[in-house]
Symmetry: C2
Subunit: 338 residues, 2 copies
Amino acid sequence: MSVSLPPTSRDVARIAGVSQTTVSYVLTGKGAISPATREHVLKVADSIGYRPNLAARSMRTRRSGRLAVIMGVAFDNQMRMLSGASHVANEAGYVMETHSVEGTVEDRTERVLELAAGGQYEGILTFVPVLGSALSDGRDAPPVLAATAFDEQMRSVGELADAGLIEVFVRALVAAGHRRFVHVAGPQGFSSARARHDTYLATVKRLGAESLGVLGGEWPPETGRQAVLALPDDAPPVAVIAANDDLAIGVLRGAAERGWSVPGDVVVTGWDNARFGAYTMPTLTTVDVDFRAAGRHAMRLLVAALRGEEPPPQGDSLQHIVWRESTGRAGPPAASGT
Amino acid sequence: MSVSLPPTSRDVARIAGVSQTTVSYVLTGKGAISPATREHVLKVADSIGYRPNLAARSMRTRRSGRLAVIMGVAFDNQMRMLSGASHVANEAGYVMETHSVEGTVEDRTERVLELAAGGQYEGILTFVPVLGSALSDGRDAPPVLAATAFDEQMRSVGELADAGLIEVFVRALVAAGHRRFVHVAGPQGFSSARARHDTYLATVKRLGAESLGVLGGEWPPETGRQAVLALPDDAPPVAVIAANDDLAIGVLRGAAERGWSVPGDVVVTGWDNARFGAYTMPTLTTVDVDFRAAGRHAMRLLVAALRGEEPPPQGDSLQHIVWRESTGRAGPPAASGT
DNA sequence: TGTCACTGGTGATACGTGTCACTATGGTTG
DNA sequence: CAACCATAGTGACACGTATCACCAGTGACA
């Protein structure tokens, strides 16, 4: 009694009493098939546990049905973006593979180009910044889409780069009496970091507040700590707008080391709503980001590009502020306000 | 001028002046081919940028060459494990796809079984706990290996479940004068959490110290906070062994809320060496884990199972303690021994 | 009644690879 | 010199699917 091979479309056809062609048309929904036979074939296919052989299918269609996602190694929230992207890819009939890259932006770009040229993938989505030269709209090479892009020629995927809530932070802090600001920025290769940076500068200027400068430029907490250690002794009272929660916790630590109280001498905002932010002392005001939804949206854009469809609009906003202790009495704007 | 199709092994054969069979034998390294022709063929293949069509290959060999990795959504360190696993899989000639699952352990198990039955994958590696019934050694179904397993019939992948350093923690704290201990455990579905739990109990007992109990049972920081809030008022001085850093930061917060100083009244240890642990106040003593290496090892085990080889031994230890402020003056054992 | 259009379905074929069975060529041995 | 063997290479085929070209039947309409 040997192990039986998995059923093929021919098996289904034989049992259902139709031709293999008919089975194929039923499964792809392309031919002219009567509802009766369609249902019959589907029933038979289900009853014998038929699954299309993807290898054979993709050989015939000359489409691999495979998408690649490029991720870095050190970004925790990619986990959730990956999850969202994976769902969308599978629903759209693709399988999604992940590749992790490290090294300089040139190294990463090189790797992405290599993957694109390999011909194995129909599309590539990258969660880490690459040079704009790697991005493509898919006319002669597979489309490469960046969920976080390096330069101005990029096609970035919207919402993650929307830093509008930075303006809300600054306005609320000004309303609470703060006049002096500092920005601890992330790497400017990330469009999100760049957007926060730009929004910070614009808002501080517009409101006539004072910016003591922009520091940072990397994501790790140590960068945030060093930024605070670099401030002049007479900096407080000062409001620190950090580009993410990792930087913000570094800021908290740095402030403590200098004997500055938070939120007394220094107030701090973060971004990402990392799990630890509700347990630091003080707890961290931050922006909650729906990374799953961001991942879904990014993948939808890629799938739309693959199908030559219009990019779907972003749905509801993925971000909202979580006010906590690190901003003291500053809070959401009153409903009345300008 | 139309877009040219990717070159096939026939193209290589034609240009190299040999048969397609020869090209195939060269590329798979199986036939009897003279070194001269082999090199010639390889050169030609390279020059025209030939890449084997994976779909055609896998149709012929009836092997998909695909592996699946199951991950949860909320575990940051999976990112690095994924990266390690991905490298090994690619080196071994497999492509690796990721699926994320959520829900109860039954839901997850169901999903894994579904994937295994789908016949698309040659092997499955799961980073989240599933019921032992899902695990298989691959005799009639694809092998399913758990990097973190649910019950005793599991095939868990070693080092991550090695909680030996818990004993070092307890010994060092006892040497520093601590007598009363508490364990804040993780979900016992994770073999790592179970190992830490068991090692804690055994060590405390062996050293004749007092355990005020085991609390927790989930991973989020709030669990750690609640554990501290549940302690009796006269608990301090007490040493808290937390199952990971998320729990530990919750413990720090809980202690602060109760007015207990760390490391004065309470000392705390964590696990995982999360980035924030060096910036909490106080900084967190923890265990640094090489998740990349763990991911590599897990994938090597799966590949070995696929090939019917002996499982490769774990290399150097992936874990070491990072002593920081939260354990006060306790530190590495003196070189002199017992 | 003959013709046309349309619906529902079939037969044959090609995708690119790996592998079985086989052949030609020298070299070695009895 | 015949018989044999190992080496190096070839021809033909099958894997399971999607799709092109075709065909039978059925009304509709002039």
